[in-house]
């Protein structure tokens, strides 16, 4: 107790790093003890299995035939990278990621603008917008599967008059129709989340700055592209990073809506099918490692893309 009184508000002082007192040793130890359970759990359930995957990926290893485990080196990787199915699934995943995130950004921004300006029914709006986000992905996928079904869905009966759609359109009959249905279900569920992230960014822009540009004679589109969007770069980056990586992991929607039929498999789906359904743990582990590396690369690219952009924006401004 005496130490706390003797050094009030010392926690924020930078100079304590110079003097390595007993109190700091104690603080250091306490801090490490408090984070230890979280760290141990994270290492045990993610880092260790990931290393295990790295190890298993070097073997031909079928769970149904464990005695026949043989070292193949990078053989699994060579097989996978030479397989057209792997590339098809990767292309599918990238298409789903790019298309859904792009559409979500546009619609989500429009939603955020509405939510930012609205002065009535704010509670109702906030509650409604959380419902698609909170709903179980599997449930949302089922709902959209019914929606697009030939005999029971409302898409064919309501939108049958549109070119390319009729009352007998089979949405699960070919690749692009099925991909469309999957992307609709993904966009429906996650646009509200995007809107919330963008709304948080929008509410941090100072009203004065927007008003000032208005007084200076900026048109609505100039205000949007020159004032509002550049000031939301950080929020947009966070949104693209989170949603992009999330969309890249797409699994639930595809599993429920098509089970991968019509070539709608994603990278995650392929990994799951190899490891769990076909017991090819060696091959599945190699896919796991590749999936993990792809996600890392994506994260790096997204962050780098926005950083470069930010520097440019600063240089111009």
């Amino acid at each position: 107790m005496s130490t706390t009184i003797a050094t009030p508000a010392a926690t924020q002082q930078p100079e304590k790093k110079v003097v390595f007192s007993d109190r700091l040793v104690a603080e250091n130890r306490l801090g490490q003890r408090l984070v230890a359970p979280a760290v141990i759990l994270m290492l045990l359930v993610t880092a260790y299995p990931m290393l295990q995957a790295l190890y298993l990926s070097l073997f031909r290893y079928r769970l149904t035939d464990p005695s026949n485990k043989s070292f193949v080196g990078v053989g699994n990787y060579v097989t996978i990278l030479g397989d057209s199915l792997f590339w098809k699934d990767t292309v599918n995943t990238v298409i789903i990621m790019v298309v859904t995130v792009a559409i979500e950004l546009v619609i989500g921004f429009a939603f955020a603008m509405v939510m930012h300006r609205i002065i009535f029914a704010r509670g109702l709006m906030r509650t409604s917008i959380l419902i698609p986000y909170g709903i179980i992905t599997v449930v949302s996928a089922f709902a959209w599967q019914f929606t697009f079904s030939i005999n029971n869905g409302w898409v064919n009966s309501w939108f049958g008059w549109l070119p390319g759609i009729s009352s007998t359109t089979n949405w699960y009959g070919d690749h692009w129709h099925a991909m469309f249905a999957i992307m609709v279900s993904e966009i429906w569920k996650t646009t509200p989340f995007m809107a919330l992230l963008l709304l948080a960014g929008l509410s941090q822009i100072s009203e004065d700055m927007v008003e000032a540009s208005k007084v200076d004679g900026a048109t609505a589109s100039q205000r949007l592209f020159r004032v509002i969007l550049p000031n939301m770069k950080a929020a947009i980056m966070v949104a693209v990073l989170f949603r992009g990586l999330d969309a890249f992991r797409i699994f639930d929607n595809i599993y429920v809506m098509t089970k991968g039929a019509q070539n709608t498999e994603s990278s995650s789906f392929l990994t799951y099918r190899q490891s769990i359904e076909q017991f090819q743990l060696g091959m599945g582990s190699a896919l796991s490692v590749l999936l993990f590396l792809t996600v890392l690369l994506l994260a790096y690219l997204i962050v780098k893309f926005f950083k470069v952009d930010l520097a440019q924006a600063r240089g111009e401004g």
Binding site: P8, V39, A53, I118, P132, A143, L197, F251
Partner: protein, 282 residues
């Protein structure tokens, strides 16, 4: 800027339709009879609304065969989600307190590790976890799902909580001590009430994750001893794969969505704050 013009009104209506129409559609589907959906029923409202699907799924009819698996899965979902939430929040609170409040070696490492895990493709772990859990006899058990659910929600909980803890005026604790409170009293009477809303928000987000999780439940369980509702629903196809029991699936969907809607209705303000605080202030 703050005015509601005609555009805002139109936007409001569009957002409401976007969020609620598909939900209204599942609710409507859940009141259609099995006969109606098996012959094809594209109209929005049921021809003859019926409670039959709810009665069958909740075990209120003589035939318990279809309710048994669903109710078991519902029990697993509740048990596993609540236990995982409880444990994850305790562990995350300790870690977030240390991160927000204390200086220690490895702090940045913990935060970057949490970030890496938040981005982790969960499906990349199902193979090795499947293998590990069979060795440790955790396959198809409650702990077998609780442990990974805790782990995967820790990053979000730690980020949300440490963003929240940083806002707490910790000097008040010392002020209370100067006024004669013991350090435990100061912590309990001053800090705990201030920290409670943040802890609560983290708990809601964790519960959402566990309630929603699909791929681990699908991979790490084999029977209704531990399978949760999302995975159970994917097995719920009925005798004819080309004609699944649409209305019963819709009913199951409504039943598992009700807890989520109730939580959203009660705590919408906190959920929005929690979702955005970690991301924006992070």
């Amino acid at each position: 800027m703050k005015k509601s013009g005609i555009g805002t009104w139109v936007g409001f209506v569009l957002i409401m339709v976007w969020c609620l129409l598909p939900v209204a559609w599942i609710v409507s589907l859940s009141f259609k009879s099995l006969q109606e959906t098996s012959t094809g029923s594209p109209q929005f409202l049921p021809k003859h609304a019926t409670w039959d699907n709810y009665k069958v799924l909740l075990g209120m009819t003589a035939d318990k065969s279809s309710s048994h698996d669903f109710l078991a899965a519902l029990r697993n979902s509740f048990g596993i989600s609540i236990i995982a939430t409880f444990l994850a929040v305790i562990i995350a609170t300790l870690a977030a307190y240390a991160i927000a409040r204390l200086e220690f070696k490895g702090k940045r490492l913990v935060l970057s590790m949490a970030l890496a895990i938040a981005m982790f493709p969960v499906v990349a772990l199902v193979g090795p976890l499947f293998d590990m859990w069979r060795t440790f006899h955790l396959f198809n058990t409650w702990p077998g799902l609780i442990i990974p659910y805790m782990t995967f929600t820790l990053p979000l909980a730690i980020w949300t909580l440490s963003a929240f803890f940083r806002e707490i005026p910790w000097e008040m604790e010392q002020a209370a001590q100067v006024d004669g409170a013991t350090s435990w009293q100061a912590f309990r009477k001053v800090i705990v009430p201030l920290a409670a809303p943040g802890v609560f928000t983290a708990a809601i987000l964790t519960f959402f994750f566990a309630w929603n999780e699909f791929v681990l439940s699908l991979s790490l369980t084999s029977t209704t001893a531990s399978r949760t509702v999302p995975a159970q629903m994917s097995f719920f196809v009925g005798p004819d794969p080309f004609n699944p029991p649409y209305s019963q699936l819709a009913t199951a969907s409504v039943i598992v969505t009700v807890p989520v809607i109730v939580i959203v209705l009660l705590f919408q303000r906190k959920i929005v704050a929690g979702l955005t605080s970690g991301a924006v202030k992070g």
